[in-house]
């Protein structure tokens, strides 16, 4: 990964293009933001979508050009598959710390560009229909465009600080969009929670950046990774760096123990959940780890932590998902769980596999969120699956696409999720059998609760009110078209990494140059190949887990027509524990929120007003008091003054005389 710098000045056209990718959505943000009330909803939506479409087209162009740099006008001097950076301007420079605003163009950023702009575009289109009735459509698209801008900066940046810009930017947009309906303090609290918990992670990330600078004397990817590639595996400082970076990833990608914001984030409009909290932003943590894969390869201890946290999160979130009754909450926990899978893959150095799952997950989870949005739209904002049922007749397209999503996430071949999930489990199997077991159990649980959701929503009898039943309708084309496109992607997306079917692992081959350094550092981790028999057995087992989960769900919710009990119903202890999400929110409240609040009041009352201020005022009071006391010397009796004068003179003279 030798760095080729394309100075901005020498390649005007290409620079313009690179700048345009994030700038178009930013332009959309400005237009929609400034003309908020003057534009009609559809126009605002069209502007927003077209801007993202523009970015997508440019990204496709760059993607193609990257492999066939025939024209040589995009990146003069570049050869095929050669990573390079584009320098835009100098941002911060202090002593040896140089932070230029540069873009990194390589396989990873290109894939992420396509993902963000592609899926982003579909969701923008979907939002035109979904947000049709809202009074602040302009604001919505402005924020959505701002998000795409930030996300593009995040994936394009060529150093850790630019990455951090995007990282915080998406956090802000997430805050703004979760609290989009800001009349309700419930939404605002969810938004605030998301921002603050992310900030906890950001602190780790920030400290990681500082340590990177102090260690490598640079924050530029190419330089850092180049220097890192000559280090020993297990170097302490790199372990520290990677752990700090991983704290950042935990926050953004909602891993234990910083995952609690993501379920709450469902307070935002559904397209937001699809775009930000499923397909793109939450995968930023995985992107970051992939980006710095060299550092992580150098730190096997960190990799262990990553793998275990990923695995435990996957299982933990899946188990919570079993008992949720809010259609979006189920999807949220499943997102947390799938993100856990991705970290599990990272932890066993299945880097490209992890990105594979990022992509397939983006397809099927965005699809499912949008499907859920379609359901909520049809049900007049009802989100409780206990009030749904039998919707497959009223919403056929939504049902079919949702079904594809469910099959994909459950790992049923040949849908996309099968390939990526199976690849992850294969990798994990080679490294750690316990984690593999956790992965298998999670796969089973995932299939179960996803189909529980599907069956309760689309099968059986309708359980909502008469009025809702009357209103049931399939969503407009602007909403169903993105669903269909995503469904196709979710169905066939897996073939980009299915050597068994198409003879070649396109994705892994494409990404290989990213991991050159890692491979050189730790060849064994990359070299291991499973024999064909084991591979088939693993595939069989993972498919079996999925099918078993679906069957269980079918028996439970279709054959036996079990309905989840109401909120106040009596539950057994373990059931109650899961239903209340292990009381983690309550725990955090007791451990962090309340003590900080208490500390705030306490410090103000007892330290500020009780100690420090009284001490300062005490000086004043002592002075006043001293004057108060001394003034009694002033008796007004001339005789006393005279005596004092004489005594004073005698004392002075006497002392002088005897030289005291």
């Amino acid at each position: 990964m030798q760095e080729t710098v394309i100075p901005a000045a020498s390649a005007p056209y290409s620079t313009l293009l690179y700048v345009l990718i994030p700038l178009l959505p930013f332009l959309g943000f400005l237009i929609n933001g400034l003309l908020n009330k003057k534009l009609s909803g559809t126009v605002a939506g069209a502007i927003g979508s077209l801007m993202v479409l523009g970015s997508f087209l440019i990204s496709v162009m760059l993607f193609w050009e990257f492999q066939h740099p025939t024209a040589q006008w995009l990146a003069p001097g570049a050869t095929a598959h050669q990573a390079y950076t584009v320098r835009l301007f100098d941002w911060i420079s202090v002593g040896t710390l140089q932070i230029p605003f540069t873009y990194q163009i390589d396989q990873l950023s290109l894939i992420m560009l396509l993902l963000v702009t592609g899926v982003g575009f579909l969701i923008h289109v979907y939002s035109i229909g979904y947000m049709h009735h809202d009074e602040n459509v302009g604001k919505f698209f402005a924020f959505l465009n701002l998000f795409v801008f930030s996300m593009l900066v995040l994936v394009l940046g060529a150093n850790f600080v630019i990455l951090f810009i995007g990282w915080e930017g998406v956090g802000l947009c997430s805050y703004l969009l979760i609290g989009f309906w800001n009349k309700d303090h419930g939404n605002n609290n969810a938004a605030k929670k998301a921002f603050i918990i992310n900030r906890v992670g950001d602190l780790g990330f920030l400290l990681g950046i500082f340590l990177i600078y102090l260690t490598f004397d640079s924050v530029q990817y190419a330089e850092v990774f180049h220097k890192a590639s000559t280090m020993q595996i297990g170097t302490g400082v790199v372990t520290a760096i990677t752990l700090l970076l991983f704290v950042g990833a935990m926050g953004k990608s909602a891993q234990l123990p910083l995952y609690t914001w993501l379920p709450d984030a469902m307070a935002g409009p559904t397209p937001v959940s699809a775009l930000i909290h499923a397909a793109t932003m939450v995968t930023a943590g995985i992107y970051m780890v992939l980006r710095s894969n060299v550092l992580f390869t150098l730190a096997p201890d960190t990799l262990h932590v990553v793998a275990w946290i990923g695995g435990i999160t996957a299982l933990f979130a899946a188990s919570i998902g079993l008992a949720q009754n809010d259609i979006k909450k189920v999807l949220a926990y499943s997102t947390v769980s799938q993100l856990g899978y991705m970290f599990l893959a990272l932890g066993v150095m299945g880097y490209s596999t992890s990105l594979f799952h990022v992509l397939t997950h983006a397809f099927f989870k965005a699809l499912m969120f949008l499907g859920a949005g379609s359901v909520i739209h049809a049900m007049s904002n009802e989100q409780d699956i206990r009030r749904m049922g039998g919707l497959r007749k009223a919403l056929p397209i939504t049902f079919l696409t949702f079904l594809i999503g469910c099959l994909a996430i459950s790992g049923i071949p040949p849908f996309s999720g099968f390939f990526s999930k199976d690849e992850i489990l294969e990798h994990v199997y080679q490294h750690n059998k316990i984690l593999w077991g956790i992965g298998m159990v999670t796969a089973f649980l995932t299939a179960f609760y996803m189909f529980r959701l599907l069956f309760l929503t689309f099968f059986g009898e309708f359980r909502g009110t008469e009025e809702q039943k009357h209103h049931l309708h399939e969503s407009p084309a602007s909403m169903t078209l993105p669903l269909i496109v995503l469904a196709i992607l979710a169905a066939v997306g897996g073939f980009m990494g299915a050597p068994m079917f198409v003879g070649k692992h396109y994705l892994a081959d494409y990404l290989a140059p990213l991991f050159t350094y890692s491979k050189a550092l730790n060849p064994e981790a990359f070299a291991t190949e499973l024999d064909h028999g084991t591979e088939l057995m693993l595939i069989g087992l993972s498919v079996a887990a999925g099918v078993l989960g679906i069957l269980f769900a079918y028996v439970q919710y279709v054959s036996r027509k079990v309905r989840p009990s109401e909120d106040d119903a009596h539950r057994s202890a373990p059931e109650s524990l899961v239903y209340h999400k292990y009381y983690i929110d309550e725990l955090y409240n007791a451990l962090f929120v309340r003590p900080v609040m208490w500390l705030s009041t306490g410090l103000y009352r007892f330290v500020e007003q009780g100690i420090i201020d009284p001490i300062v005022n005490g000086f004043g009071r002592v002075t006043l008091g001293g004057g108060q006391l001394l003034r009694y010397v002033q008796t007004g009796y001339v005789g006393l003054y005279l005596i004092l004068i004489v005594v004073g003179i005698v004392l002075v003279l006497g002392l002088n005389l005897f030289r005291f």
Partner: protein
Amino acid sequence: MEQTIPEVIRTVPLEYYIYFATALFAIGVTGVLTRRNAIIIFMCVELMLNAVNVLLTAFSAYRSDPNGQIFVFFIMAVAAAEVSVGLGIIVMIYRNFQNTDVNLLNRLKW
């Protein structure tokens, strides 16, 4: 045989002047401290001043240094001015209180 003033002064031993001046000064101090009548206090202050004058004159003569006697003139001039101001104040006090007891003047306290 005509004697100059310093010579006359020197006919008395210096110690005697010191004893005398000290006594005079002590009487003055005692008077200031013990009496309450403003006029008497005033006179005692004059006594103290004059005790100093005596000493200055005596030393001046013994050391043949005229500076001491010049000082005496200064002191006398200042004392005269002081007396005029002081007596004026005392007259004012008497007009207001029909008395010259200094302890009546205790308004300026605390």
